[in-house]
């Protein structure tokens, strides 16, 4: 068993990581087919020439940045408030947002938007996607920020109050700087879940707000496409780097 366990673990790690590694290798394959014909960057050039891909990637970035900023602010404030005094129903809702299957979140938001838009003459678009993304990212932000607050020494804040700071001043000048690494980590996590989402986005997006995952999904359903191998490699490398930085910051 001493030798079997590491051997098994090696196989498990291959199972987890090999599929993406193979995709990356074939993204620089000159052939359109699953036969190695030599190194080429032609699929990367094709990717940068694809108008649909670029436009949807632009939409995704706008949505993810907007949703990240909003979710990080709202989530950080909520974590601080919950740390001061627990609120069973807000904590319960945040958990519920984490465990509700994405398809249900998506159709419920679709029904909700249709319901209020009937009287407001608004349509689905970037704004509905951003609102949906803020909604499902808040819980991640709260969890990450809360984890750091648990190690925070309350007496630091009390000292600031004794020295004449207001409640807000103590939060802003003492607690917030202490939370900075966790807030940065939380923002990166929110960005990742936002830019990655397909199921909810596809249900609440309008005609002007096709995102990168929606285009990737449509391409994948049509079958395997070497351009998609290149897109996948770029996305996975970008998100992987972001997550590694985020993990570092959480341990800071």
């Amino acid at each position: 068993m001493k030798r079997a366990l590491p051997l098994y673990a090696a196989c498990a790690y291959l199972f987890l990581h090999l599929p993406l590694a193979i995709l990356a290798i074939f993204s620089v394959n000159a052939s359109r087919f699953t036969v190695w014909e030599g190194f080429s960057l032609r699929w990367y050039r094709a990717m940068f020439a694809d108008h649909d891909l670029l436009e949807s990637a632009g939409n995704s970035l706008v949505i993810a940045v907007a949703a990240t900023v909003l979710a990080t602010i709202v989530g950080t404030l909520a974590a601080y408030a919950l740390w001061k005094k627990a609120s069973a129903w807000l904590a319960g809702s945040l958990y519920l947002s984490l465990v509700t299957p994405e398809i249900v979140t998506g159709v419920s938001l679709l029904a909700f938007f249709q319901w209020i838009f009937r009287s407001l003459h608004l349509r689905l678009g970037m704004h509905t996607v951003i609102l949906a993304h803020v909604s499902f990212s808040i819980a991640y932000v709260v969890l990450v920020v809360m984890a750091r607050l648990r190690n925070f020494d309350v007496s630091l804040e009390e000292a600031a109050l004794d020295l004449g700071e207001t409640e807000f001043g103590a939060f802003y000048r003492v607690t917030l700087p202490y939370l900075a690494p966790a807030i940065a980590a939380a923002a990166m996590l929110a960005f990742t879940v936002s830019i990655d989402d397909y199921v909810i986005t596809s249900l609440v997006a309008g005609v002007d707000s096709r995102t990168l995952p929606m285009v990737i999904y449509a391409m994948a359903r049509r079958g395997v496409n070497p351009v998609l191998n290149a897109v996948s490699t770029v996305v996975v490398a970008g998100l992987g780097a972001l997550i590694l930085i985020s993990e570092r910051l959480r341990r800071a």
Partner: protein, 275 residues
Amino acid sequence: MNRLRTLFLAPAALLMLTTLIVPLGIVAAYSFLSRGAYGGVETPWTQENYTRLFDPLYGAIFLRSAWISFLATAGCLVLGFPLALFIARSGPRKNLYLALVILPFWTSFLIRLYAWMFLLRDTGLINTALAALGLIHAPLPMLYNQGSVILGLIYGYLPFAVLPLYATLERQDPALVDAAADLGATPLRALLRVTIPLSMPGIWAASILVFVPCVGTYIVSDLLGGSKTVLIGNLVQNQFTSSRDWPFGAAASMILIAAAITMLALMRRSREELL
């Protein structure tokens, strides 16, 4: 003191109320309404949507969802336990090994499923390689069936199983296994009689964490299952889009919401509070 807290709590509370609680409430209300002439919903109030869920046609979808999720959960436990054991017993490199499990979970589920399509399809890498080696003459049908859906679920949710299993195993005193060995137990016997019984809380947590998202999955069965492997998630999506029978889709959603709430209740009982 309390004013600042209220002010800080308000945006999140307002957002959760308007974009989570109210929408789920709308779905719950719609599940008791009738289908409108042009999509949408109409009165009268009815229980008919729930009766229809027990129709054999839809019953088959529920049974299939439950069975596939059960197999995927069992697969995650069997594959995840030895991996968690390896990480828990690997000393100072624990964090690196753990990160290698978590990393794929955060990198685009969609793309990771596409990677499996690339491997499994008729002209994919595995079939091409087997044909080049002369082992097969016609491609093996590995994609668009229940097997590929279960594989995709195991691949996607393995981290959900490894994390709670690791958490339990990491807390166990290694001296217990040493004691079992001193008393003459073989490593296998120590595993079966000491390590696994002590890991039951982690095994339960892992089962719940994997089973519930599997039941609610939509993209795995849509991408890897083809048209033959319709699950509850696909039924919900279909009713809200092409079939435009929102009340029935809402009734099917309620089953998934009930599963999610059950999971929350079970997790609350088995673990300490996170928030």
